[in-house]
Every structure is written in structure tokens, then in C-alpha cells.
Subunit: 412 residues, 2 copies
Amino acid sequence: MEKFEGYTYVDGGVCAAKGFQANGLNCGLNSDKNKNDLGLVVSDVMCNTAAVYTTNKVKGAPIVVTQKHLEATGGKAKAVIVNSKNANTCNADGEEKAERMAELTAKQLGILADEVVVASTGVIGQTLPIEPIESHMEELAKGLSYDGNAKATNAIMTTDTVPKEVAVTFEVDGITCTLGGMAKGSGMIHPNMATTLNFVTTDVAISTDLIQKALTEVAKITYNCLSVDGDTSTNDMVCVMANGLAGNAEITKENKDYETFKQALYIVMMNMTRMLAKDGEGATKLITCVCAGAPDLDTGIIIAKSVICSPLVKCAMYGADANCGRIMCAMGYAKTDCCVTKADVYYISAAGKILVCENGNGLSFDEDLAKKILMEDEIEIYVDLHQGDVKATAWGCDLTYDYVKINGDYRS
Amino acid sequence: MEKFEGYTYVDGGVCAAKGFQANGLNCGLNSDKNKNDLGLVVSDVMCNTAAVYTTNKVKGAPIVVTQKHLEATGGKAKAVIVNSKNANTCNADGEEKAERMAELTAKQLGILADEVVVASTGVIGQTLPIEPIESHMEELAKGLSYDGNAKATNAIMTTDTVPKEVAVTFEVDGITCTLGGMAKGSGMIHPNMATTLNFVTTDVAISTDLIQKALTEVAKITYNCLSVDGDTSTNDMVCVMANGLAGNAEITKENKDYETFKQALYIVMMNMTRMLAKDGEGATKLITCVCAGAPDLDTGIIIAKSVICSPLVKCAMYGADANCGRIMCAMGYAKTDCCVTKADVYYISAAGKILVCENGNGLSFDEDLAKKILMEDEIEIYVDLHQGDVKATAWGCDLTYDYVKINGDYRS
């Protein structure tokens, strides 16, 4: 993972920060008894909490319920309950079931249902069986521990092949603080607010408004610059909970401490974004597009995203084919007015760097070197537009036989 | 092919209308000597000519040159020269080479270079070798014939597995007229003006302005409702040439005769659209989405396109998985304000019809019947939004292992 001065990576994921317990278990939604399907994260004390949600108009019932809860409490929460295998979306009784999940959680923890964030991920349009959740809630709560992060992280995985956890420590006002999180992928992922389930916990003391502001800004340049397949999910959510147990003076202004917090959030969310891209359904390669020489950030993001979203670019990367036409084509249909016809295009990896297109024109290049570069499992497509001095990054993956295989029969 | 009253399907494609000759041959751009790579279509007399082009900002040099020519002549042309295997795009000498193709053609035919429409399709960013074209132009022109359509159609094919030709006869003002065309697919196809190379010829007498108007309207509900892979090509063009040899009084007003002509254009372009979708790269199935109950046409098109563009829908169709969540999700992120959460969703094919989602909620359904329906090679996804009485259609295909295979190493 990329190093950032003043920040140290630590273990513990969603339990890394002070005062956060977690647990996960198999309640029977998933027929594989070795795979958790129900997860719980709880803070010892009330948290200032902010979230961003999917922009899909077909919203999962848990999204609707969580929005209601955070509105009712004015951005306070103590717990997250989350299940996998069933998205509880497009169901007539969806909200009722999501509320029931919150109530069951609240009862075990002795808190209010409104203080519970609810999330679900999995198949859409199938009724959520509530009985398995009801009958396992006591066991789930009793098993909470300060090192239960791995169990909870396992519970939110769907087609993920690896768990996704990141945490960092850093100093705010001379006090050591921690911020960490867990995320799930790995299909139905496309830039549009959140694009996944992601829970971030921190012991920093900071106001809900500033968490929301930092989250919105960081999501724009991390999760919203990620695409696995162009499908924006119905159930996406990134939720940040801050319990203040680090003991710093609460951050209530956009000062240096706020910037320190925001950078921690960026480091965790950016690394999660990379992990989600690299573990995209069927993916064999992480594809990063860096768009340099952009006139502004929005333009750079639009162009970088257009490149990593292109099915033809994704197939070419899978096949290690240094086809610069695919890149130029994808930049050309990006929805921006910016001139892209004067661009230089490079492929970069651990094996080297090669220029394949200059001033918008394809070059003859060393095909053997290009192949070697593109055989690596982390590829950077570097484009310089020569239209300004802003740089933007987007993350994606290759398109493979296995993506088709996984999604040819997702429900079984 | 769907029947339309007053219109009769006939053979002959781009040569079906009176006074159009064509030819195609292998000039050496394609190393497979059995595959044509250079095609020519010529009208005996001057044609009123209109075209629509790709919206990609990275435009192939032939697009730029054709636009210049049609501007210079005020919408008149006599010939189309087209090559496959090399797109002549992102090349420093691209326009010069495209002009040269027009000049070589004009010289053989004794016409002006400005009267030649130029098109290229194939790999982007590699210099177009002009010598093979130069040395074969005389042979190409000498071999022109009134039944040369198949040779020309073969010349524009790239990864297409079948040639694409359609023609109809119909009456204008008591006179029998003919309109026909040829098209190529089959990847880098996404709704945005044209989405392919398509040449339509007709012996109807009609003004250039009205051809342009009809073409723009018909493209909106045919080619622009087609997606194979979400990539909008750099070289797309639909060009319609009308030589007036049928002998009808020239259509210069939007009267009944204009509507008759427009309907003929619709029939040919709609059938081409279906063929392009069904022969999409790696495709095993034609997927049509009919969006009924839409408040207006634009909204219906946006939603139908969102469904057929979704990689997850495309994979589910490949796997014959009746996952209604994929459909609801894709409608939910369609860029429209229309309510989609009350929709009914059906799967329809020659094997039957099944309702899988009602009022936005997933249903339990007969999985065996659903599987049987989705095992057919032409599937209709029928959604009723219940928000109005307009119906729109979009065409696409499934996403398969072979799409990935074809595009993993396109250049070789």
C-alpha cells in the first residue's frame, strides 16, 4: 500500500479504532455454513455518523430505513447490522423487514432502533427470510468483541475472493487517533455515490456535518472513480461513524485537524477502492487510469473513468494487447468538451513504461516490451491531455471469461 | 423479418434500387485472401445524399473527409469507397490518405473527388497502407456490376459472422420504388449517432434535406437504440443516397410520400439494427427490451437502452438466469426522472411469456418455464412502467466468453 507521511497502517479494520466491537456468523441465509452472512458493528458510545448512498432510483429497503434513522437522530448511531446473500430490494415487505432487523439489534444492545444502521447485499427481488436473523441475533450480540472485525468483514462478502480491511493511525492535536473500515465488492460496481457497502469507524471526535463534508469529497475521488462493470447497485452505502473516544477536542471547523482527518479517510477509502477494483468479479488485473494534463478535476475524472469503463479497453488489458485505439476511442466518447485528440498515451507497470500514442497519433512501438508490461497484474494507463495541469485517477479491472461465468448464473 | 403492409422484402441489398452498381475485392489489407477488404458502390447518376456520423470526438479521418465532401457538394454524391481492416484513425497522415482514396476512386469513375463518400473500419492508430488500394482501384472499378452487392458487403465485414443486407420495394405515387442497404457490426457498438458503417441506396427521388430529416428521425429509434458493448466507435456513419431513377415526382415536402419513404428507411434500418445486435461480438442471443407505459419516447428509449446495456443483464441472459433484480437495477440507474419502481417485468420468447416482477416487487415464478424461455436465441424483456402510454424498443445481445476472447487480442 502506498505510504503517506504521518499515517501508519495498522491491523483491526473496523475494530481498529477505540471502542468498536464487531461480530459475524452464519445464520442460514447462506447455505455454506463456513461463510458468515450476518454481521454487527457496535460502538461503546454514541457516534456522529454520516453516509452517502447509491443514486439508483430503485433503492434497497435498508437504504431507505437507514436514511430515515439518521434523519431521526440527527446523524447519530451506535450500531450497524448487515446481511449478505439477500439485498432485501424490490420486495413488498422490504422496509418492514429492514426495520425489524434494526429492532432486533436494538433490543439486544439496549439501544433505540433509530440508532441502528441497516444494510443488505445479495440477490434482488427475493423475500428476505427474517427468521434466521431473529433466531441468531442473541448469539450475534453475545459474541461481540474488540477483535471481531474479521468475522464481520467475512459476513458482508458476496462474490469477493478476499476480505477488504484497511486502518491507519495518525495524530490530531498531539493525540493518536485511528480510522479503519471494511468493504465488500465485487460486481454491480460503477461510479455513482458509494458503489459498494463500506463501513468506516473512527475514534476521532468530529461533528456529523464535517464527517459528511469530508465523506462526500473523498467519495468523489475514490469510490466514485471506481468501476467494475458499469452497473450501479441498488444497495450501495458508505457509512462513517466517529465515537470521539480518542479524546481530541472535537473538530468542528475546517482547520488543519479536519484536513488530517480527511486525509485519513482518503487513505482508507482509496486503498479500499484499489482492493475493490483488483477483486472485481472475474478480474485478473487492477487497471488504473491516470489522466494528466486535464483542465480541471471533473474533466480529468470523466475521461479517466471513461477509459477504465470501456469493455474494449478491459478486454484488451485482459489479453495484454497494447491497442492504443481502444484508449483514444474511450477518451473520445467521454462526456466532456475537453480536447482529447492531442493526447499522449503510456502503459506503465512494474515491468516498465511505453509510449504508444503521441499527440493523438498511434506510434510503432516495441510489441515485446508492451506485452511484458501488460502481463503484470497492476497496470497504469497514463494519458496526458496537454490541456492543463490537473491530474485525476480512476480504478477498474479487466473483463474476463470469469466475469461472464459468475454473472451468467448469479442467483444459484 | 417482421412484415409491414405495403412493403415487400427483396434481395439485392445496396444494389436492389435502380442504377446502383457495387464491387468488392481483397487488395491485401487483410491477409486472408478469401475476405474482401475494399468495397465500392456507385450510382449511375448523381444522388441526393445525407449522412449521420459518430459523436465520438476522436473521429476517423474518413469521417472528416466525407463531411467536407458532402458540404462542398451541398449533399450530392455518386460513389462510396470503403475499406476494412484499418480504421485510418489517430494517424498523422489520415486525412491525406482518405482524400487519396477519394481521388483514386474519382479518377477511375470520371467524377470529382468531392462526389465520393469515404469510409474505413478496423484497427485504430496504425498507418493505412495506401499502395494496396492504389494498385487495386482499376480492378475494383472494372468489376462493378448491378449484382455486386454481396462482394461489397463482404468488404465491410470485420468481426461480423454474417453479411447484413436488407431491401424493400414499395410504392410512391403509384410508382414502384426500392430502398436497400448494407451494414457492418459487430463490436464497438453503442447508441450515439450511427454506431456502425451502414450504406443505404434508393431510387426514390427526394430532396437532400428530407433525406437528412428522415435519417435523423429513424436513426434515433433504430441504430441509436442499439448497443453491443457500450463503446461508441470513432468511424460510425450511416449514409443514404437517393438517385431518383424510380421516376417519381421528387419528394420535397413532408407529405404522405415522405412518410412512405421514411417508413421504408425505418424497415431497412430496424432490420439492420436487429441483425447487428444478433451478430454482436461473441453474442449467442438477440436481446430486445420493450419499455411500455413510458410517459414519452425519450424516457422509454433511455430506460430500454439502460436495460440492454447492463453487463449484468447481458450475462444473466447468456446464462438463461431469470434474475429480475438485474432489470430493476438497470432501470433504476437509467438517467431519467421517471418513476421505475412500480414496473412489471416479463420475459418473452418463442417458448412463452413469464411475469417475474410486479409493481416493482420480485415474484416467485416457474423457474423451469423461465429457463425454457431464456434458452431461446431471441429474447424480449418487456417492462411496463405504468407511467404513460408510449412504447420504446432497444436492441442488444448477451455478453459471452467469446466477446472477451475476440477483444482480448483484437489487433492480431
